[in-house]
Symmetry: C2
């Protein structure tokens, strides 16, 4: 029940932050404003989030783990392109599910340099995780073989391109079809003998 209250405060904070940041711009909003809007003190804000960027980007944390478990769960017989396509499909599906909210967040991230940088940092971490999982899956040594890192990077490049197009079209284009088109391009490299 203490856990419930914690979740409640956290939601209150993210809600207030998203509303303020989207309307006034990232730099024009102080943490004091966000905290006050959520009914807590600035100090408490930092007990929930490590930084101003974190309140927007935090939800990405789980996605890395989700992707890795998805990749680990897929059949080893599956070709890399197919396995990675479904891996990347996980966060995209999450976006598509809450398209209204996700669209606002994605646009805010892409338009704000500080947030974009954090986002890219996350992606780099995802790439490391995926590369490790791929190396394990294929029995390759990540220290000598370039393939795992390259394959993970290509998959996330596809993810990024799809995200850009999706947010650029205001969610009009179908994310799933966009991933398919992107993976049609990169698959020859992923599945090369």
């Amino acid at each position: 029940m203490a856990e419930r209250k914690r979740q409640l405060v956290s939601n209150e904070l993210t809600e207030a932050a998203l509303q303020l940041l989207a309307s006034k711009g990232f730099d024009a909003v102080t943490i004091d404003e966000i905290a006050t809007a959520a009914g807590v003190s600035k100090r408490t804000f930092f007990r929930y989030f490590a930084s101003k960027e974190d309140v927007v980007v935090q939800f990405l944390a789980g996605m890395g783990a989700d992707m890795r478990t998805e990749l680990a769960a897929r059949s080893p017989q599956e070709r890399p392109s197919a396995a990675l396509r479904h891996t990347v499909g996980v966060p995209i599906a999450t976006c598509a599910d809450h398209s209204d909210r996700a669209l606002r967040v994605v646009r805010l991230i892409l338009r704000t340099p500080a947030l974009h940088a954090r986002f890219l940092e996350r992606q780099a971490q995802w790439r490391d995780d995926l590369a490790a999982e791929l190396a394990h899956r294929l029995g390759l040594d990540p220290g000598t073989d370039l393939y795992p890192r390259l394959a993970a990077g290509m998959a996330l490049t596809a993810f990024d391109a799809v995200l850009h197009r999706w947010s650029g079209s205001d969610g009009a284009e179908d994310p799933d079809e966009l991933i398919d088109r992107a993976f049609a391009v990169i698959a020859p490299a992923l599945d090369a003998v």
Copy 2:
């Protein structure tokens, strides 16, 4: 001659910064320290560099333009994989030329989250530039075709993988050979009919 003095102060600052940051770590060094070590005031530091990260990352600014002009200069008959391989070769060659200094800087960037984030931001900008140039080169509409962005992203993924391996091996491995191996992997996607 005013220009010369400006360059001199700038060098003094970067030199002091690199030395301090590498030895004490990014967060443990204040801008006051760097400025004092270079014999100027904190305020003057910010007249030369926009942020603490900028001192380290600034030299990347020119590389984006260099790559784009290299790509623009290459023959249109050349296949995308070959053109992009040489494009990515430009910054890598710059690294290899000043390998001692470059190695220290790269390691510092990769080990410091704040610097890494800035680095990734730069790379994202490079990708935009390269994608635009590729679209122009191939007569594609970057608004509808995913290829330019994907191809640029793949090339930079290769760049990144090479950089990691190079710095991880303390500069022992030959960067040019690493690029060749990386491009051997991604070329099938780059040159797909």
